[in-house]
Assembly symmetry: C2
Homo-oligomer: 702 residues x 2
């Protein structure tokens, strides 16, 4: 069955209904009754005749009809049997609120496996176990033990934490914010976050999807779905329980930097998911997106009747990367003509402490009519003559008259603006306790709007020599090696259109000198051994060699010294390599996240990359726009543009490098991690050079 | 008079009392009456006999006694005359709430100057003009138009924005948080933030000082006072209206990086001021510090009855740099013995969804008894059987039984925990809407505690050659130059114990080669001209010269090329300098902030400093501990410790460099900006070298 049955059942049976106050089986029955559910409610309990005025059934079968929804509140050992009974009587959906499963250790895990098997075999979908239940305010369905129903509305919320869901419902009740569905997903033995995401996407009553997750099982499928859904409905997620552990084990810079918080950020950004740092921030953003249109740009107009809150909003906007709109001259003129001389008619507009409704209305109207304005914030603090209620009505009126430009408000001052806040809320203009909270919500809207308005994703495919890479990787896998050698790595890069420095492996000092002369001075000499990964650590790298004798001396010294440090290593000679002069060193990398797939990385190159952590991540495959966006997210971007060090570099060439890397790692899922470091880029028109690379292959891939 | 008269007057006169509702002169009268002020209230208005049941006086004189406090609510043109009248009748303090002064342009500025002069001449202290007034809840004094009085309490709040003060009072009323004083300081024509700070420091009823400021007039005095006061009472400031403008004009890296937000951060850190990013965050922190002891460390214990909120708190703690306490084995044992097997007995403690009061009480008691725990957070979400009220009482009980370890709570779930939140608040345990808010408040407490517990500040004084620096700077000032030459800058550094690279100025190619041989290859060649500051830009720097011919060629090329780029420059030759090999490049710098004084800077050196912005600031003079703390605040710290690039460096030598720089800029206030960049540091025991320096002197100093 689709999940719709959970949301609009004709009837509900509660197995494990209880007469004892405080028992979950009692609380849920009361919730169902007090919520006002309009279909039949059937308590099931073999030991009772009647509970809370409803006739009790000894089992599901004796009801005589298939319940639209079954809520299971029995001890964990009995849950699987009840689910089997559901199947026999023709019920297709059950919410198992019982706890005592996986969260309780080994024995519980076994019970949960039994439960999941029972559900599969009986063809019954189950939500839970160990969950709080489901609420559908518009259907007066409160099949949960999380307090009374909040108002109906357009926010669909799902949560891996039951108590958080109860808190969200409570906040909604207190602030008068409505919900379409509230779903506690519990241990996800059957229905998981992906099912719920799809159900809320298909649900017409849901305009904004919000959720709290601690784990995401099928990461890549979740992200694909989220990306599809985000085009229509914003998804706001709070993801808790980040951990950087595990990253230590990686052998590339990229692997070590791609901690799981970074992975979520990159993955969420790709899918258009708005990441929230706290439930309050999420609630603030959800209210805004549920009630107001998405802005088409970052320019905000601020209207206030006091300097302080205006300045606070401007500071917060700056911190969040929003722009203060530059008004058109016509707007400034219009405001100057109508507001008192002491008013500030540039953004932020100060309509002064003695402003009545008319000044707010006029300023907001003028600001929203300005082509440079994408959104507006109205900040009111009550002075002696302030007309908070009238102003709220005017703000609602003006906001309604404008398409596609959101208006948010912050009427500051608790009790004294309570009625006005209600007017705003009921009129669809979210009102926040502080200017900072309003700006935070606006920032979430802007981020979502930017994502939704981005150009259609076209991933460029470069002509490459795929066959060659297949061969190299195949050889590596057959040899049961997990890392390509330096020469192999360069061959891979060359096959995908990267330019690598000229280099030849010499086996004698004379040959090294000969090669150096062919290549041209200065050259670099590197020890050549399949067994030595960190060449510099064993004295196996010499740079800046400028003459025949120097090269020969360096060669012989290496052949003498390296074997003493690494007597185990099979040394094949030394690589004589062209030395890259000038240019800017960046790093391009990839780490394959076990849940989400290939995470590309860009950053400042060289040995400092892990210290500076000035890197950006994005999920492959990547478009040209996304590649450029990765560059702009780092401080290194300024270096690329020529700040600090001097002249800028060919930014398009760097973006192309990222796209070629994206193609490589997309076409070869065997590649687990890789760094191109340094990737040396020069001024416009110059060809970047992939000087060094490390490619880690999955052992046993093929 | 001291400001006490404003806070506990015997009587209040209101000049400009008005019968018309909505007028400030009416609103304040009603505030005074409704606040329940117990002394006489004298409305003054020549046109009325009686207002709100009180007899009206035509002027101050006709009252026949000197009012303890005069509130002035007359048109701006009349305010100065009223203040003069105050002086004549013996009143010593007036609050001028009238607006229409400096905030209204030139004419208003003149009126404000008149007002200030009148106050000085009449020896009357005035608060305002353009302010909201003053509230003293414990005295039932509401001499303001910001709504009813909040409860008495220990938070003293002052604000440069009147409407913000009204909002704070409102938030206090709504959340039941008490205040000692609320002061709107308005345009600060006489009484300013420094006066108020001192008054609140001296006020026994005030335990926590909080304020909102847009400008700080006498920055250095304010900071000195704040530093003194912070030892006894925490100061929480929200500083709005930051701007990075002006920094562009600076000629040093340090000057350009020391934007005003950075300056405030550094200065606030030195004075122990807790910087708040929003009024909500400030309010949260003030509540915590007013009610609970300051923690002595960063280790927090989290106790929750659900996984989600616990994880959220842990995430927030990690973001804020707090540590999750590692329980002692005895604590873990104690918890294991008493809690159900499914409970998590490691931090964060999960007492499970069916926990009654006893489990919370037990867990909190055990956690606070643990020597590894500095503070505790109790997170409750209401489940069916949760005893929110009883748990709140238990939390209060346990919190009271422990010294010096703060306990904060977040009972999540709005209406369903409203009573319990009240129990907590009344019992002195602040309760927050979300775990993140509670963690934010705790972070402010920890920062303050760390500052207060820091070792006594001992600024080390090195033996230096002060006389020599005086001579060099004197010569520069007499020559009306604003920047020291390279050689002079190095002499200054050497006089203060820095080592600079060997170098000699050559006037011919032959001499350059001779000097190079004396110094030892490789050498650096730099054009030598008092007129050329950015040498590299005109081709005036060549590094890595390794032989006689190379040096001679470089010299002659410079002499040929540089004059063509800078025909105006007086070229005296070229500096032949020892080249520093290896080592790590950092920057030490100073920018003299016009309000606060010399801001020291430390960061990653080289050309990238302004791009990476990996720098830390602190106000000179600095102690050894503070110098080391500056280092640890940057990502460069990891480099110094040997991450990334290889071996670590002599950290103490870097800290000593900062302290020597601190001494130099403290002893020579004529130095406006300076960079030592790069300051090359080597492994332990190696002497760091100040390779290049730029010192900017105040023109006309002396």
């Amino acid at each position: 069955m689709s999940l719709e049955g959970f949301f609009q059942p004709e009837s509900v049976a509660l197995v494990g209904a209880s007469r004892r106050k405080g028992k979950v089986g009692h609380e849920i029955l009361r919730s169902l009754i007090e919520g006002g559910f309009e279909g039949p409610i059937w308590p099931v309990n073999p030991k009772a005749k009647e509970i809370e005025g409803l006739a009790c059934h000894p089992d599901l079968k004796s009801i005589g009809r298939a319940p639209g929804l079954v809520v299971v509140a029995v001890p964990p050992q009995a849950a699987a049997a009840v689910v089997r009974e559901c199947g026999r009587v023709g019920a297709r959906g059950a919410i198992v609120v019982s706890s005592g499963f996986r969260e309780m250790g080994e024995e519980g895990r076994r019970l949960e496996e039994d439960l999941a098997r029972a559900a599969r075999e009986a063809k019954v979908r189950i939500i839970g176990p160990n969950c709080l239940g489901v609420m559908v305010p518009a259907r007066k369905l409160n099949a949960a033990f999380g307090g009374p129903l909040p108002a109906p509305g357009s926010i669909g919320y799902f949560s891996q934490s039951g108590s958080l869901l109860a808190a969200i419902a409570d906040m909604g009740r207190e602030k008068g914010i409505g919900f379409s569905k509230l779903v506690s997903i519990g241990n996800k033995a059957d229905v998981d976050e992906l099912d719920i995401l799809r159900a809320l996407a298909a649900d017409e009553a849901t305009g904004v999807i919000a959720g709290y997750l601690e784990t995401i099982a099928e990461g890549d499928a979740f992200i694909r779905e989220a990306e599809r859904i985000s085009h229509d409905k914003p998804i706001l997620l709070m993801k808790a329980g980040h951990t950087e552990a595990g990253a230590e084990a990686a052998s590339s810079h990229t692997g070590r930097l791609a901690g799981s918080r970074r992975a979520y950020e990159a993955v969420f950004a790709r899918a258009g998911i708005v990441r929230c740092e706290s439930i309050t921030a999420q609630f603030d953003a959800a209210r805004a997106l549920a009630a107001q249109p998405v802005p088409s740009g970052t320019a905000v107009a601020v209207i206030a009747n006091a300097g302080g809150p205006g300045i606070m909003a401007v500071d917060a906007a700056e911190r969040h990367g929003l722009q203060l709109a530059q008004f058109e001259e016509a707007t400034v003129r219009r405001l100057s003509e109508s507001l008192p001389p002491a008013a500030n008619v540039r953004n932020p507009i100060d309509v002064l402490g003695d402003a009545l409704t008319d000044r707010f209305e006029l300023a907001l109207t003028a600001a929203l009519a300005d082509a440079n304005v994408d959104s507006a914030l109205v900040l009111l603090t009550p002075h002696a003559m302030t007309e908070a209620d009238g102003t709220a009505e005017a703000v609602v009126r003006v906001a309604r008259s404008v398409d596609a430009k959101p208006v948010l408000a912050s009427f500051i001052g608790a009790g004294r603006v309570a009625r006005a806040s209600g007017v705003l809320r009921d009129g669809g203009v979210p009102c926040y306790d502080s200017p900072e909270a309003a700006v935070g919500a606006l920032k979430a809207m802007v981020d979502y709007g930017r994502w939704r308005g981005r150009p259609k994703r076209v991933v460029k495919l470069f002509p490459v020599n795929r066959r060659k890479v297949e061969k190299i990787i195949g050889r590596c896998v057959r040899g049961d090696r997990c890392e390509l050698g330096e020469m192999e790595a360069k061959e891979v890069l060359e096959a995908y259109g990267f330019v690598t420095p000229k280099g030849l492996v010499a086996t004698s000092a004379e040959q090294a000198a000969e090669f150096a002369e062919q290549i041209g001075y200065p050259v670099v000499l590197k020890i050549w051994s399949p067994d030595i990964v960190h060449k510099a650590d064993v004295g196996g790298v010499r740079t800046g060699l400028t003459g025949r004798t120097e090269v020969m001396d360096a060669f012989d010294l290496m052949m003498y010294r390296v074997p003493r440090k690494r007597p185990d290593a099979n040394i094949l000679g030394a690589l004589v390599q062209e030395m890259c002069k000038g240019g800017t060193e960046v790093i391009l990398g990839m780490n394959r996240d076990p849940r989400y797939g290939p995470l590309l990385m860009f950053g400042m190159g060289g040995v400092m990359v892990e210290v500076l952590k000035d890197v950006a991540f994005y999920l492959a495959p990547i478009t040209g726009e996304e590649a450029r966006e990765m560059l702009t997210q780092t401080r290194t971007w300024k270096v690329l543009q020529g700040e600090g060090a001097g002249e800028g570099v060919d930014v398009d060439a760097v973006a192309e490098g990222l796209q070629r890397l994206s193609q490589l790692v997309t076409e070869f899922p065997q590649i687990q991690e890789m760094d191109i470091n340094p990737f040396v880029v020069g001024p416009e028109g110059a060809t970047p050079v992939a000087v060094d690379a490390r490619i880690v292959i999955e052992r046993g891939a093929g």
